[in-house]
Structure formats: structure tokens, C-alpha cells
């Protein structure tokens, strides 16, 4: 998966399968949206690397060499390759690291994960997190968002230069894959299960934020954090957006950040199915009570279109 297919696409990809005694080069089949696929050839291969097409002998691999049996060695990093589950390599040619994850856009897989992992606020590695650009879906985006980076953030953290943290130690940044126009997806990294003896949740990583880059190069000032373990007041931001928001992540049903005009009117909910599930006849309610804080705001007419 070429994460930057929209802004800096890779022209073509060759997969090189490697064993201790031999290697073979297979040209990957290009699909839409940066997707390249290949069938693993028969043979004693336990490693794979990806190269720009026809440059396996001259170029550096795209994102390193990987041992598929989960055993790292001096020449290769490790991935526990599992067909259909951990079978996609997300290549980032920009600043963020590449990573392995499930193939994107398979809603039924997500639904199965939901059954296996119903506890809110307890995502597992590989669980998918979505970002929906509402204005792109609507078709009225003026300065289009071209990349969305999800940042999985440790607690405690400092807030002095958020979101422009550059040390890379307080968060894991991953460019999200635009699986459909305006719909981005990323999987939680393996580190999500790292424990903490000081955090209430018992886990080191608790928050997520998004780093947006627009076509003009403008970056939305997105220092709003959300505690995906549904813990309110687990941390504080020093200024601008006050306390972090919070939600109880559940794969499939509470897994999507809907980005509106800015962080103030954006929200979490379930991701929209790829299958364009109909909502005919569904009832939606609008609760106008209590609108406002210390000073009540009186809501008049509501319109829907």
C-alpha cells in the first residue's frame, strides 16, 4: 500500500522474496489508490523486500527487508505475516515510518474484530481506526486535505510543542491510508499493548491526535488529543484546546473520527460501510436541550439537508 499515492505516488513495485539460498523478483500488480498485490511464490522464502519497479539491483528497498516469520536478524526486521490479517505493507515515503497491518477496507473483517473485542477503550494491535473528511465526502472542500497522520500518544506527555513534536518519542505517527475518497484508515500499532505502572489505564499509550496536511501545504493546527481508552482528565493540554476529549474505542462501532470544519465540531462514531448501507426509514433524533455552557444559548429553527 503506497500511503502517499495521492501526493507522491510510487510508479511501480517489485517484490523480492528471499531465502538463504535464493531469491526471486516478482512484479506486483498495480491497483487503485496505491494498492500493489502479489502472490507469494512457492519456495523456501522467509523474507521479503519491496523495490521500485526494475530497480531491485540498484535501489534501496522501500521500507526495509522483512522476515515474515517474526524472527528478526541482522539483515531483516520482523513481521508475523498472517494472510488476510497482517498481510499488507504500508509504505510511507515521507517522514513517518512504514508499517504492516491488515488489508484496508474490509468491513467484514472489522465486524469480526468487533465480536472478538467488544470492550470499549481497549484496542488491540491491528484494530482499525478511521478518519473521515466530511467536507470531502460532501464535495465542498476548498483546500483539500492530502495526508492524514494519526499519532498514538503516550501518557504522560509534555504539551510544549504539540502537535509539532519532533523527537518521535512521545508518539507513534502513522500516515493513514485513503481507502476511499475522504475515508482514511490506519491500524493500531503493536506498541499499543505496552504497559505503564503509573497510568490509570495500565497502558502507556492512551491518546490519539491527527496531523493534517492540505494541498497548499497548510497544516491544520491540530493539537486536540482524544483519549481512546475513554478516560476523562487522564491528561491536560496546557493551552488552546484545554482538556483532551475522550471516547471508548470499539472496532467497528466506535472507531472513526469525523472531521468537520475544525476540531470543535468534529466527533467520533462508527465508520461508514464501504457497501453504502442504506439508511432508508431510519429515525434520527436531535436533542436541543441544555445547549450552551454557563450561559444558555436558545436554539430556534433546525434545518436538515
Amino acid at each position: 500500500m503506497d500511503l502517499l499515492w495521492r501526493s507522491a505516488p510510487v510508479a511501480g513495485v517489485d517484490a523480492v522474496f528471499i531465502s538463504n539460498t535464493e531469491s526471486t523478483v516478482v512484479s506486483m500488480t498495480a491497483g487503485e489508490r496505491g494498492l500493489f498485490t502479489v502472490t507469494i511464490p512457492s519456495g523456501p522464502y522467509d523474507r521479503v523486500a519491496f523495490y521500485p519497479a526494475r530497480q531491485a539491483d540498484t535501489a534501496q528497498p522501500l521500507g526495509g527487508i522483512w522476515r515474515l516469520d517474526g524472527q528478526a536478524d541482522d539483515t531483516a526486521a520482523a513481521v508475523n505475516f498472517v494472510p488476510d490479517t497482517l498481510s499488507a505493507f504500508y509504505y510511507d515515503s515521507g517522514d513517518s515510518p512504514s508499517y504492516w497491518g491488515p488489508a484496508p477496507g474490509n468491513d467484514s473483517d472489522t465486524a469480526l474484530m468487533t465480536l472478538a473485542n467488544p470492550q470499549p477503550g481497549n484496542p488491540q494491535p491491528g484494530d482499525q481506526l478511521y478518519f473521515v473528511n466530511l467536507h470531502k465526502l460532501k464535495g465542498d472542500e476548498t483546500d483539500p486535505i492530502v495526508t492524514v497522520e494519526a499519532r498514538f500518544i503516550q501518557l504522560p506527555h509534555d504539551g510544549t510543542d504539540s502537535p509539532i513534536w519532533t523527537n518521535g518519542k512521545q508518539y507513534i505517527g502513522r500516515t493513514m491510508y485513503e481507502v476511499r475518497d475522504g475515508v482514511y484508515v490506519v491500524s493500531f500499532p503493536q506498541e499499543i499493548t505496552e504497559s505503564s505502572s503509573t497510568n490509570t489505564s495500565g497502558y502507556l499509550y492512551e491518546e490519539v491526535a491527527f496531523n493534517l496536511t492540505r494541498q497548499s501545504g497548510y497544516k491544520d493546527p491540530f493539537n486536540r488529543h482524544y483519549n481512546f481508552r475513554d478516560l476523562k482528565h487522564a491528561s491536560q493540554m496546557p493551552e488552546t484546546w484545554g482538556d483532551p476529549g475522550y471516547f471508548g474505542y470499539i472496532a467497528g462501532t466506535m472507531d472513526t473520527y469525523y472531521y468537520n470544519t475544525d476540531v470543535e465540531d468534529s466527533y467520533w462514531n462508527a465508520h461508514p460501510f464501504n457497501a453504502d448501507a442504506s439508511i432508508h426509514g431510519q429515525m434520527v433524533y436531535f436533542d436541543t436541550k441544555d445547549y450552551g455552557a454557563t450561559e444558555e444559548q436558545k436554539i430556534g429553527n433546525l434545518y436538515l439537508r
Binding site: 473521515v132 466530511l134 467536507h135 465526502l137 460532501k138 486536540r224 482524544y226 476529549g245 475522550y246 471516547f247 467497528g252 462501532t253 466506535m254 472513526t256 473520527y257 469525523y258 468537520n260 470544519t261 476540531v263 470543535e264 465540531d265 468534529s266 466527533y267 467520533w268 462514531n269 462508527a270 465508520h271 461508514p272 460501510f273 453504502d276 448501507a277 442504506s278 439508511i279 432508508h280 426509514g281 431510519q282 429515525m283 434520527v284 433524533y285 436531535f286 436533542d287 436541543t288 436541550k289 441544555d290 445547549y291 450552551g292 455552557a293 450561559e295 444558555e296 444559548q297 436558545k298 436554539i299 430556534g300 429553527n301 433546525l302 434545518y303 436538515l304 439537508r305
Partner: protein, 385 residues
């Protein structure tokens, strides 16, 4: 999204004006159209809401959303949007803020009492009632600060409690409240029934029942988040000298308080609060919704038919001048409404018999009235009032 749907007004700039309300204050609903449209989880809706003049954020605001009910949430909570937590979806019909207590309100606009009191209780299986005693009310933290009697309260058989007039400047759930509403809040929800009594004189002697008009035992309405009793005073000759029910355990001198439950914050728009039955193709009945078909009659008195105003005072009770009774009826329209009300009270109201829906009106006529058809969950009402 189509541009024409049922009876909704459509604004070219903003879309459908949401006019269908649930029976919960401040909650609107919209049923996604069926038929030839492509509405899906990927459809982006634009909600435009107007913050009225006088609010600090007055003006027109928009909010984009998709509707993905798979999350289990079906209700967009605009206050959560304001709170900016990132969680804006909730469930319609969620528990009230404090599910362990209840509250009752009394709309005093017609009765014009100077003192209003309540007595809480429960109904036993044999149909009789158990009322809070003076001793119980003295001991209970929720009650003791509201005791009706300054001294010797513990010895009273009944623990009448003072209601307090709400400040008209207060707001409830963001809604303005009408003038002359009295409240008792924080009642343990184990008490399911209530009696009201009111005296015209704020300094009326609590120990003399004949200073008061008494309601019959009433089940506290659960159809409203803020159940409010809309009372009117009534002289019940039939109860004179008789022991009809618990009311007569106190000497009320046939001063009876009648009325019905409504909502504290919606008594001026109960008609709007009823929901539209979607008409036209594609509508599917839901099992958990009660649908009713009815004929509506708009009654006019001969007085009105002669071109007179229903607001004109035409009647002064001179039932018994020796008792110095006040002006009970006043406006002619009120008299007429009460007559209709009493007529139906005496009719057989069992199934398939006429059961009027009585709206009253906020202006000239008696305010409020029966809301019973709105109890019991979702109710799709019927009237293009």
C-alpha cells in the same frame, strides 16, 4: 436527499425545517425518506441551527454529519457539540439526569393560589393509598425543609409539604418557563402518587382543610420529563357531606382541584409536540409505535357562535354567597371548556369509547389538559393543528 418530503417545509438554502418533536422536551426527530433516493451511511447531511437573538452565539450555524446507526447511537446531542468533547452522539430516551428522584410542578395560572402544597404517597394493591406522615416528612432529608407546619409537625397524620414558586427568569433544559409555576423537586422515585392542595391566601391556616382546594390522589405522570399539573378550582356539590375518597379525610368543604398533567415547558405548544404520521408511499408501521385514528371536533359554545369572545368574563359563581366564594370561572371560554371536560369525565371512557384529546390553549382558554394519550412510549399523533 430529496427536496420534498411529507409536509416538511423546504428552505432552498437550509433544507427541511425540522418540525416533528418527540414527547421529550427539546428533542426533534426525522425519519430518513424511503423510495427513490440514495441515502446511505456515506451521505453527508448538513444540519443548520439558528441560535436566537439575545444569546451570545446568536446566528446561523451548520454542522455536517453522516448517520451511521451501527454505533448504537441515534440522537445528535447538540449540547455535546457545544461541549466540544468529540462525543456528540447519544441515545434518544436515555435515562434522565437523576433517575432516583422525581419532581412535580403545578401550573397556578388559572387557580391563582397563594399557597400550594403536596402530599406524596404510594398506591397499595387494594387500591388504597399510603401517604407520607408528618413524622416521616420530619425525618426525611428530602422533605424536612419543606414542612408545611412550623411546629408540632410530627404529630400530623399527613406530611403536607410546601411547593415553591419558580422564578420566571429560570430556565429548564434551556427552555423558558411560564409564569406562576410552582415546584417540588428531589422526591425519591419510590413515591408514585401525589395530592395537591392550594389556598388562595398565602397565609392560610394549614390546620384548616376548608381553606384549601384538594386534588384527588394522582399518579405522577411519567409521560413528561417535567410533569406539571394544570389545575382549576371546582366546586363539587356531590362531595358535600360525603366521604368519597381519601380527599375527604381532610375537610375540604367540597373545594375540589381538578386538572391534568402536561409538560412544564410545553404547555403553550402541546399541539406542536404531537408527531406527524408520515404519509405517502413507503411508510412502514413500527411495532413499538402506537398509531391512532380519530375524528376531531372543534366545539363552539352558542356564545362564541354569536360572535362573542371566549375570553370575556361571563360567569361569576354565586353558588353560596354566605361562603364568600371567589370568582371561579371568569372567562366564558374557560367555563365552556370545563363543561366539555366534565361531560367527558362522566362518559364511559373504556376502550372504543370517545376519549377527547384536550389541548386547551395558552391564551384565552384554560391552560393544559389531558395528556394521557401521550403516555406509554412513542406516540405518533395525528393533527395538523
Amino acid at each position: 436527499m430529496p427536496t420534498s418530503y411529507l409536509d416538511y417545509q423546504y428552505d432552498q438554502n437550509y433544507g427541511f425545517l425540522l418540525s416533528s418533536r418527540t414527547n421529550t422536551e427539546g428533542v426533534f426527530y426525522f425519519r430518513m425518506p424511503t423510495g427513490q433516493n440514495n441515502l446511505s451511511e456515506n451521505t453527508v447531511f448538513t444540519l443548520t441551527y439558528v441560535i436566537e437573538a439575545g444569546s451570545s452565539h446568536a446566528g446561523t450555524h451548520t454542522f455536517l454529519f453522516t448517520y451511521v446507526p451501527r454505533s448504537g447511537f441515534d440522537c445528535l446531542m447538540l449540547d455535546y457539540l457545544w461541549e466540544d468533547t468529540g462525543e456528540v452522539w447519544g441515545n434518544y430516551g436515555a435515562e434522565p439526569a437523576d433517575p432516583d428522584t422525581t419532581r412535580v410542578y403545578f401550573n397556578n395560572a388559572v387557580t391563582a393560589f397563594g399557597k400550594i402544597q403536596v402530599l406524596f404517597g404510594t398506591k397499595k394493591q387494594d387500591g388504597s393509598y399510603t401517604w407520607v406522615s408528618g413524622q416521616e416528612a420530619s425525618d426525611a432529608t428530602w422533605a424536612k425543609d419543606h414542612r408545611a407546619y412550623a411546629e408540632g409537625y410530627e404529630s400530623w397524620a399527613r406530611g403536607w409539604l410546601d411547593m415553591e414558586a419558580l422564578d420566571p427568569a429560570e430556565r429548564v433544559e434551556g427552555h423558558a418557563i411560564p409564569n406562576n409555576v410552582w415546584a417540588f423537586e428531589g422526591v425519591p422515585d419510590t413515591y408514585t402518587h401525589v395530592m395537591f392542595r392550594g389556598a388562595l391566601n398565602a397565609g392560610a391556616d394549614n390546620g384548616k382543610g376548608n381553606n384549601f382546594w384538594f386534588s384527588p390522589p394522582l399518579e405522577i405522570s411519567t409521560a413528561y420529563s417535567y410533569p406539571c399539573f394544570f389545575g382549576y378550582r371546582y366546586l363539587d356539590e356531590s362531595s358535600y357531606g360525603q366521604a368519597k375518597d381519601d380527599v375527604t379525610l381532610e375537610s375540604h368543604d367540597h373545594h375540589v382541584l381538578n386538572g391534568g398533567w402536561g409538560s412544564l415547558v410545553q404547555q403553550y405548544s402541546l399541539g406542536d409536540a404531537s408527531m406527524d404520521v408520515p404519509q405517502g408511499s413507503g411508510f412502514v408501521n413500527q411495532n413499538n409505535v402506537y398509531y391512532a385514528t380519530t375524528s376531531l371536533y372543534d366545539y363552539y359554545s352558542m356564545w362564541e357562535q354569536s360572535g362573542e369572545s371566549s375570553t370575556k368574563n361571563t360567569y361569576l359563581s354565586q353558588y353560596d354567597s354566605s361562603r364568600n366564594l371567589p370568582n371561579l370561572w371568569g372567562p366564558q371560554g374557560l367555563l365552556w371548556n370545563l363543561a366539555v371536560s366534565e361531560y367527558f369525565d362522566q362518559k364511559d371512557t373504556s376502550a372504543n369509547q370517545a376519549q377527547p384529546l384536550y389541548f386547551g390553549s395558552g391564551g384565552s382558554m384554560v391552560e393544559g389538559g389531558w395528556g394521557s394519550l401521550l403516555s406509554g412510549g412513542q406516540f405518533f399523533s395525528i393533527f395538523p393543528f
